[in-house]
Symmetry: C2
Subunit: 372 residues, 2 copies
């Protein structure tokens, strides 16, 4: 694979073995651990732009990223923060943060000559993969649970992606994916390329308004791990001299990362996951260990919120700040409300991972349950 000038190697987070880009696809070939990309930061030409493994000429882009961080004064006042910024990842090409990661992961597959990429997904990742695969001229195979939202299934089809709808929930889709043709280039949530792509979200926040705390709705843990890497890289290049605290927010019905934060324990799978927030119903997170490290090493915390509080937070934000949080994004605001005492006088950023319009049915149902 043609790599960028600054890319040095992939390293296993568990066994510390290192690999060239051509030697790896998804996980460590030696031990199955998670891989992280390493760079020679003195070879970087732009210290405030994130380095990527892949050479620029090999990247397929739909102009993802550069999403706004919108000031929400009414929400800041409510929780006693100085500023509250909504980083709206719904304003990516397919309306979700997954676009950032799949842009790089699908490009990596195309760069090594793969005809097809493949992933298990709660839905938005499948839509992103199908979009970038269309762009790159490869086929995307998505394994989605039957509970996946209509919008994701419809748009996977519209992009011409191959879709396997698996009866049940995400673990059922994952099992079907694991039984499938292993010859396709894997772009699932363990992919180091996906974290490399999402890392830019951290760069955008940290080289801009530089919040002192960031609250992230968390499923697999990709966004938290990626922002953590952005912090480390920016500190290494001297572009950042503070460390914002990272907070994992999860639905109480499926909070394995929150449960592990601040403990010495490994992430334990949730036995009976149950949340209306589909993108976050991930009982056994793919990069949970990295997400917990992101929270614990930056002095943050985990916070679990009820589905009802998440939905109400999204409705409140739409009403007083005008912003369109999805139910998934509502988990961040509900979490920030729980954590308000820690944010007094600070600049806090919330990540909205999915456009509100993509979860319109969940938000509308919440109003219905209140008789509206």
């Amino acid at each position: 694979m043609e790599t960028s000038p600054a890319f040095r190697e992939f390293a296993c987070a568990d066994c510390e073995e290192t690999f060239d880009a051509d030697e790896i696809e998804l996980r460590c070939p030696a031990c199955g651990g998670l891989l992280v990309a390493r760079y020679d930061h003195d070879l970087r030409t732009e210290p405030t732009r994130p380095p990527l493994p892949l050479a620029r000429e090999r990247r397929h882009s739909l102009d993802e990223g550069e999403t706004p961080a919108t000031d929400c004064p009414t929400l800041a006042d409510e929780i006693g923060a100085d500023r509250l910024l909504l980083k709206d990842e719904g304003r990516n090409p397919t309306g979700a943060v997954t676009d950032r990661g799949l842009a790089v992961a699908v490009s990596a597959g195309a760069a090594v000559g793969a005809d097809a990429v493949s992933l298990p997904t709660t839905g938005n990742g499948g839509q992103s993969a199908a979009a970038y695969a269309g762009r790159a001229g490869v086929t995307a195979h998505s394994y989605v649970p039957s509970r996946c939202p209509f919008v994701n299934k419809a748009m996977i089809n519209v992009h011409g992606g191959e879709m396997n709808v698996v009866e049940g929930r995400y673990p059922d889709a994952l099992a079907a994916y694991e039984d499938s043709d292993g010859a396709r280039f894997p772009v699932g949530p363990s992919s180091p390329y996906r974290r490399a792509g999402v890392k830019r979200l951290g760069y955008e926040l940290l080289t801009g308004p530089a919040p002192s705390a960031i609250v992230v709705p968390t499923g697999h843990g990709i966004v938290l791990a990626a922002i953590h890497t952005a912090i480390e890289e920016l500190r290494e290049t001297g572009a950042l001299d503070v460390t914002p605290r990272l907070y994992a927010a999860q639905p109480a019905g499926c909070a394995p990362i929150v449960d592990a934060c601040g403990t010495a324990d490994a992430v334990a799978a949730t036995e009976q996951p149950d949340t209306i927030v589909g993108p976050l119903e991930v009982p056994d997170p793919a990069v949970g260990s990295l997400a917990v490290a992101a929270v614990d090493e930056t002095g943050g915390r985990g916070v679990a919120v009820s589905d009802s509080d998440a939905l109400q937070a999204a409705v409140d934000a739409a009403g007083t700040a005008g912003v369109e949080l999805s139910a998934t994004g509502g988990v961040a605001l509900a979490g920030a409300r729980e954590l308000a005492a820690e944010f007094e006088g600070e600049t806090v950023a919330l990540v909205n991972p999915v456009a509100g319009s993509k979860e319109d049915d969940l938000l509308r149902s919440h109003l219905m349950s209140q008789g509206i």
Copy 2:
């Protein structure tokens, strides 16, 4: 109202009477004609940023605009253009170009002390109005036809907007609006503030990649009229020395602006409008005369396309370019295909007015009709 330093007056496009901002709301108080804002361009501080009537401090923003113009080489090759740029207005705060105009119009209402704003809408304008009204602390009253998409109705509710669902189609919603309480500040499609807000779309295209042709899916004609004003202003300040040709693209089942382009006739209302593309089913456009002038005075044309061609265009774009055109946006690509002979070797921009995910059902149904 507190106006911007460069704002001079509103002028009627018909009787040429001029007015202060405080003297007008929607249309010319003397003759009912359309109003246009005029500026002292030598008082503008930034010649490549669009002047607005309203003072900066009075504008409520959700960080609308600054949408990407994504290169689509496969689509350019297909129609023989040098470059094809997709200006994706689906990446606005509520997923539609209507955000740009309603940001300014709702702010104008709030600036004059209105408690409530009101509009008839095919749907997206109502969602935008509800979002900005929430932000500005006023109430938005939307009159939507029963055929309005679920996503618009749901999100109007989520923002806490007042919604009047009127049995029938857009003209029925318009009639109900016209029978309603006239004391609310009007932010409907005739509003000069809406065109002033959308104008920036033209500035972004013209001070950036500067296409030689722009194809615009057209309902009321706001976007065409606004880009035309951007051209005129930028030529006046010397920031632009060419005039891109503007093309109106409409569904064949409702093409009153297309029918009037290139003729000496006024826009005549379509008697039996019938298109699946709801945002463009506007039989009697609010700013049709300005839209026709935009096309005729720039050397462009009108083009009418079938619903089926529009839907297929959106599906093709998703498949080969990865971009998510809505059915509404598909009207632009279907139009560009018809017009290909005029675009040889040129840079062409297409406007996608609405996010693909917001019209997922239309796109999916089109696949269904093909047995997919």
